[in-house]
Symmetry: C2
Subunit: 394 residues, 2 copies
Amino acid sequence: MTTRTVEQHAQHVAELLAPLHTRPGEEIPLGEALGRALAADVHSPVDLPLFRNSQMDGYAVDAASITTVPVMLPVRGVIAAGPAEPVTHLPGTAYRIMTGAPVPPGADAIVPVEDTVTSDGEVRIEKTRSAGEFVRERGSDVRAGTLLLAAGSLLAARHIAVLAAVGLQRVSVRPRPRVAVITTGAELVDAGSALRPGQIYDSNGIALASSARANGAEVVSIARSTDDPAEFRTLLAEAVLTADVVLTSGGVSMGDFEVVKETLSPLGAQFAHVAMQPGGPQGTAVVNGVPVLNFPGNPVSTLVSFEIFARPDIRRAAGLPPTEAVEGPLAAPLTSVRGKRQFLRARRTDTGVELVAGPGSHLVAAMAWADVLVDVPADVTALDAGQLVKVIPL
Amino acid sequence: MTTRTVEQHAQHVAELLAPLHTRPGEEIPLGEALGRALAADVHSPVDLPLFRNSQMDGYAVDAASITTVPVMLPVRGVIAAGPAEPVTHLPGTAYRIMTGAPVPPGADAIVPVEDTVTSDGEVRIEKTRSAGEFVRERGSDVRAGTLLLAAGSLLAARHIAVLAAVGLQRVSVRPRPRVAVITTGAELVDAGSALRPGQIYDSNGIALASSARANGAEVVSIARSTDDPAEFRTLLAEAVLTADVVLTSGGVSMGDFEVVKETLSPLGAQFAHVAMQPGGPQGTAVVNGVPVLNFPGNPVSTLVSFEIFARPDIRRAAGLPPTEAVEGPLAAPLTSVRGKRQFLRARRTDTGVELVAGPGSHLVAAMAWADVLVDVPADVTALDAGQLVKVIPL
């Protein structure tokens, strides 16, 4: 079996997953676009505001007619917000006008209702206003043709608001990568089943599916295979029909019943020992043009494999920003195995980065209690308390 | 109309929304629990590992039999991972064993396959091992009864993994607050419709719904009313049948056609002028026991009202952490209106907090371009470049 560094295997996986990044944008209803990334720039098809309108409830006037106050003006009518035949302002008169209603041509200021007294078809204006006051000019927010939101923008409520305001019903967003998950192992049973000796509950299926979803993927299927190659082959053939990438767990190690390795090796899969802990045994294949990543089956190995090898490209494909590694001081000294890059489970606390339990790849509860992976380079064998280490947020 | 500070109105809204926080937990399938908050502590129902098992593919031995190496041991059989009748180890013999398979009673160490040579029913062991090596003891990750995850934990993939590993099919999570949205205004039409003079596209419905969803709510309905009180009353009556809280936009100001105010005032609603910009006119009501928050209709006022008054309690009800305000230096001086707390749209840039366009509550594109609200206290009228201001992330 070939040996690779983490960087070499990550590079190899990135090449396999490259087709995820060239899928065309997907047109979806705006109401479903929250959290998605725009696939293309959006230019405004219209001016905003769409028309010159009132910022206040009050009276539309021409400022020249109210330079001396108080002044009485005849009220020619009411302009409500809503569809209506346009009217024209006559100097020396006023229209009662509501917020958002079109300001009639000829009027150039709004007197807020608080500064007026109405009586018998006339309004008494008590404060002067300059031309333009409380008038929202057409296009004063955005002009038709202006770049509204750039490709890649992650759509929050305020972005959806402006896309709706310019009248868009649908937007083109980065497609979610479609992920299929297949776990393997004769020992795996569903939660809720009675356990026979030697059996355990399958956690990798739901864990990989949740990891994929949390990073922007759509999970198209979750399946489980025994160690029977025919069964695994059938599940894989189904998975590649709908998935952009298939993730498997288990069956890639040194045992007698390595169903993934046995099935995929004849199909040109690569199985490598990657110089890392956890997650050493890794495989990759391409089946019917679909990349297949074969992670080891220990629950922690599976989750760490996802974080290191799958997460970056799945996030990028979905248009999500990368998860940036940060630095923190170790709360206590640690030792590491020479020649293997270690990803140790830890928590960030007030006293620094504290390891959670040991390095065992079966410690799935400890993994749950961690909030970072400490990334210890392969050539480091010991670190002191207080030394800065690279940590990968989970 | 009464006048309130932002703090007073926020306190009033918090009292109205208090029932959101006492709803019982909701039992959901684990596969749907990603991102949800646990409603109760979860203690492990089982030990993890469930049984003593092998960490390696190799040979199960008793360490006392391999103190001198190399040594040949007869191989009594193969223990695969998976359901099987338990076997017992005899000193001086070995079982071929796979990762995850039960270690037979009597055996206390695993010799990795790499350190062995097999021939004709015997295995040659080339390295000594201490008792316990590569054996995962039952309960060494977590013991039955141990607190696995505390109430309030936000479920990420690794949490779902451990919950699955201990055999849980369902978890009790904080229920999503059910939000209904009703926008009002005769001027509003659906995106895609032809616009008549005076009409605009409704953006508040989708904006409030997206804001609610982004903060953990389930949106049960989005409706739109004209300025006809009968229509609004009907929509409201429908909304309170399924919602925990109803959000409305528009119809609360000083105009002639304030449908929300007209409809709800006789029902004991409170309408207040809150000393803030944008978002001054605010209303609240309780209809059939369901709290109703009445936001003003300008798109920016609506969004800011949600952020200031609805977001904190909706997030808390869903079990999401509060959005913490942070501080940043102003990139340029600004002025503010005395007596009103201003929430100015701004971006955080390398040069500091930069305002995006002006304070107008119709500037919905500018709102989209912002990533924070600058929170300027009511008694502040001017701030210099470089002064630290409180900013609320959007």
